[in-house]
């Protein structure tokens, strides 16, 4: 144990002094939390600009625009009536622009009189690939429906849906992202560093040097796992503290979280050990770790829900260990879903054990 501790201390000292290690362990997750926190903390209250060209300028068109404004989802601004709206939208890089034609009010009354045989038209210009376009068209349709009901004196059959949050009441985007950031930090630090360390220790003959001492390979591996676990727990605590202090996220931290950090560290450190064993030098090891880690970071739901991805990508995500780590951390940190968390922990632990055994067998620090 004394040797494991000595090796852990020496490794940790070098790791933190390298600055790269310290950055990715402590600074990087904090930067991500601050960045995502700043970007998503206003979600739900930000409104979309809605430039409108109103050629009718009637009581009906103004009432429609007031109703749009009252939703608070859009902010109506006016486009001059003497320009071509399409050219104007392109020239000003507008993502949405609403066009109310002359005769809009007349068309509404005609529609009422003919029981909807003739309808009043609105035109929405915009970039259909932008999320704001989808929001804008949804709001316009909702306002148009509401005004139609009001004009014909109809009462809505359906009441607005009752909202019951599954997660904590103040659950926001950052609460969802935080476990992903933690999972990604565990992967980044253990996979990349361990791959580079194994390749460096072999190319600089540190393994051979260590083999001349009484330290065994198992003790060396144990010390690495110990260091990564300790540093990741510390990183998690610092990251959570910043997220709580800066954005008031509500998360639960318990032994299960710790178990995820430990098993995640073992899993990705072992994967790094495997990659490092097959790499000629630290640069190739980093490239290999990037080739595996980078797609995994995006495909495993660290930053968004995997169910929003195409089916085939969801299938890929199910084969990635980071998916289970991020989901499991989300289960325990945010939802408090013990059953699902334990299921994910089981997957992570089994894969970690398998990779550890394989990595330890493949890695050799003596010559044959």
């Amino acid at each position: 144990m004394n040797k494991i501790l000595a090796d852990t201390i020496a490794f940790g000292r070098q790791y933190l002094r390298s600055k790269v290690g310290a950055f990715f362990t402590f600074i990087f997750p904090i930067l991500l939390v601050l960045l995502f926190g700043a970007v998503f903390s206003q979600t739900g209250t930000a409104s979309i600009d809605m430039p409108v060209q109103d050629l009718d300028d009637s009581g009906m068109s103004r009432a429609f625009l007031d109703a749009l404004n009252n939703t608070t989802v859009v902010r109506v601004s006016m486009i001059p009536t003497d320009v071509a709206i399409r050219d104007y939208a392109i020239e000003h890089s507008l993502t949405v622009a609403l066009f109310i034609p002359a005769g809009f009010e007349d068309a509404v009354f005609t529609s009422l009189a003919t029981n909807g045989t003739v309808q009043a038209n609105l035109t929405l210009y915009g970039d259909v690939s932008q999320p704001s376009f989808g929001v804008a068209i949804g709001v316009i349709e909702a306002v148009a429906d509401q005004m139609s009901f009001a004009l014909v004196g109809a009462t809505p059959v359906f009441a607005p849906p009752q909202v019951i949050p599954l997660a904590p009441e103040r659950f926001g985007a950052l609460d969802y992202l935080l476990p992903g950031i933690v999972g990604m930090t565990v992967m980044f630090n253990t996979l990349y560093i361990m791959a580079a360390v194994c390749a460096e220790y072999r190319s600089r003959k540190y393994f051979k040097l260590l083999a001349t001492t009484t330290l065994t390979k198992s003790e060396w591996l144990a010390s690495k796992i110990l260091w990564f676990t300790l540093s990741m727990v510390l990183s998690l605590l610092v990251t959570l503290a910043v997220a709580i202090a800066a954005f008031g996220v509500e998360i639960r931290f318990d032994l299960l979280t710790l178990a995820f950090i430990v098993s995640g560290s073992v899993l990705f450190a072992s994967l790094g050990m495997l990659l490092g064993s097959f790499s000629k030098d630290p640069e190739s090891a980093s490239a290999l770790a990037n080739a595996i880690g980078f797609p995994m970071m995006f495909l495993s739901g660290s930053f968004w829900d995997v169910t929003t991805m195409p089916d085939y990508m969801q299938t890929i995500a199910k084969g990635l260990p980071l998916t289970y780590l991020s989901d499991g951390l989300r289960d325990t940190l945010v939802y408090g879903n013990l059953d699902r968390a334990l299921g994910n922990l089981a997957v992570v632990s089994v894969v970690a054990a398998a990779l550890f055994v394989l990595g330890a067998r493949v890695m050799s620090w003596k010559e044959r």
């Binding site: 004394n2 040797k3 501790l5 000595a6 090796d7 201390i9 020496a10 000292r13 070098q14 002094r17 390298s18 600089r204 003959k205 540190y206 051979k208 040097l209 260590l210 083999a211 001349t212 001492t213 009484t214 330290l215 003596k366 010559e367 044959r368």
Partner: protein
């Protein structure tokens, strides 16, 4: 006294390549034993087998009385190793590195103990500098300090001065002599002939995995390179004829120098007496002792530059 190292018929093969080919040797305690040879001669493979880093293909080897195949655990804590191309950990200071290394040998080494070891190897003034800031010679000194931390009876120094400048090399020689003076046994691998000659009690010359000569530097020189050469600068053809007329075997070099090889002190006395009676116009006259370089050239048929055979 039982030898510290005993090797009998040691073989290490990699496919068809015989890296070490039926090597036998014995190293007495308290001596400096050098394995001398060009790159690829099998020196490092041999010491790495003795260090427990490689398994031999055949043969037996005992280190400190223990069979290296059976009970290396008994040996590990009693030897110190400076590997070839040693590099210290970049971001540990020498003090931290020595303390760390001591713990890996289950020794309770504190900072003060580390400083004493660093003082012994002449690195105390760099005790708090990170490894990456040390010079080449300082890095090797740190390597030796780390190898000393377990208080080893036997030290393996694998090409400790390769790549160092002449001053750093001579400084390290001084350190190696001091370590020998403390009664430690040192196994040194080198491709520097002068280094082997200066430091060794015993030298084994290796070539293509085989031992081609062994003995003290003096024995090797006496056996293989003759004892002494008298150089008569500028003697020319006339000088050569005059010497031969008086029954002295001599040879002439392309620059006109005439060489007379003398096998032993008795012969030297006779030759000098004959030379004294010869009147020859000479630029200079001096004697030159045979060196390991001559031995190596005679045995291998080539000279060696930085471990690479030339010619």
């Amino acid at each position: 006294m039982r030898p510290v190292i005993e090797i009998e018929g040691l073989v290490k093969t990699y496919g068809d390549l015989h890296a070490v080919d039926r090597l036998s040797l014995s190293v007495p305690g308290g001596t400096v034993f050098s394995l001398l040879g060009p790159n690829g001669a099998g020196k490092t493979t041999t010491v790495e087998i003795l260090e427990g880093l490689r398994q031999p293909t055949a043969g037996t080897a005992r280190v400190l009385g223990h069979d290296i195949r059976e009970d290396y655990a008994e040996i590990r804590g009693r030897i110190g190793v400076l590997p070839q191309d040693f590099e210290p950990f970049d971001r540990l200071t020498p003090t931290e590195a020595v303390v760390y290394w001591g713990r890996l040998f289950n020794k309770d080494v504190g900072k003060e103990d580390a400083r004493k070891i660093l003082e012994e190897v002449g690195l105390l003034h760099r005790a708090n500098l990170q490894g990456l800031r040390l010079s080449g010679g300082e890095k090797r000194r740190l390597g030796i300090a780390m190898s000393l931390v377990g208080q080893p009876e036997l030290l393996f120094l694998d090409e400790p001065t390769t790549g160092l400048d002449p001053k750093a090399r001579r400084d390290l020689w001084g350190l190696i002599r001091r370590l020998r003076g403390e009664g430690r046994t040192i196994v040194l691998t080198t491709h520097y002939l002068e280094e082997a000659e200066q430091l060794s009690d015993d030298v084994l010359i290796m070539h293509k995995g085989k031992a081609i000569a062994q003995g003290t530097p003096e024995e090797l020189v006496a056996k293989s390179a003759g004892m002494t050469t008298i150089v008569m600068r500028g003697a020319g053809e006339a000088g050569l004829n005059e010497l031969q007329r008086r029954g002295i075997a001599a040879e002439i070099e392309s620059d006109g120098d005439v060489l007379v090889h003398v096998a032993n002190p008795a012969e030297m006395r006779i030759v000098l007496a004959k030379l004294a009676s010869i009147e020859l116009p000479l630029k200079d006259m001096y004697t030159k002792r045979g060196t390991l370089e001559d031995v190596f050239l005679r045995l291998v048929g080539a000279t060696m530059d930085e471990g690479v055979l030339q010619g």
